[in-house]
Amino acid sequence: DAGITQSPRHKVTETGTPVTLRCHQTENHRYMYWYRQDPGHGLRLIHYSYGVKDTDKGEVSDGYSVSRSKTEDFLLTLESATSSQTSVYFCASSIRGMSNQPQHFGDGTRLSIL
């Protein structure tokens, strides 16, 4: 499996505070993705990146921003966290962004916003 590390693994914070989640991959994959997983909604794409400094929105991008300054790092930022953003966040990466390339996932970050 691709070497994907997410940090932190767990975080508890308060409404209104900024939060940054980090994803680091060692496979030199061009594409990286952020998902959130919620009961009743499954996994939903937040943002993805198709190269350094190249990003685009996914299905549920409101309230989130991303940055990718290096191939190996993809950051997800909640500028002002809300309770509705309590979720488990997963990062994934793939060699290319086509449907014939499987995505490989990190172990997730469990984020609780009080």
Binding site: L45, R96, S99, P102, F105
Partner: protein, 111 residues
């Protein structure tokens, strides 16, 4: 927009029994992925299917994509406790890399 529906939502089987999980798409599938997730962990890639009628196997797990490319099944033969977890199907609408997922099927295997 494309949607994936998995059935059943949950499944409890006795060890040694066979089982099947289905994934149905509202539109033609360009690529169908099966993942397994254990509680508190990430998704582990199992298999990818692309061609109508395609079938792939890994150990005791077999996945098929029907000829019309709108339904896939995951079959586990002689289930073991290690097979327990959540199985998710994923697809890339419009042949892009932006995956959508089914709701998942939770499998419990009783020793």
């Amino acid at each position: 927009s494309q949607e994936l529906e998995q059935s059943p939502q949950s499944l409890i089987v006795q060890e040694g029994k066979n089982l099947t999980i289905n994934c149905t798409s509202s539109k033609t599938l360009y690529g169908l992925y099966w993942y397994k997730q254990k509680y508190g962990e990430g998704l582990i890639f199992l298999m990818m299917l692309q061609k109508g009628g395609e079938e792939k196997s890994h150990e005791k797990i077999t996945a098929k994509l029907d000829e019309k490319k709108q339904q896939s099944s995951l079959h586990i033969t002689a289930s073991q406790p290690s097979h327990a977890g959540i199985y998710l199907c994923g697809a890339a609408p419009g042949n892009t890399g932006k995956l959508i997922f089914g709701q998942g099927t939770t499998l419990q295997v009783k020793p």
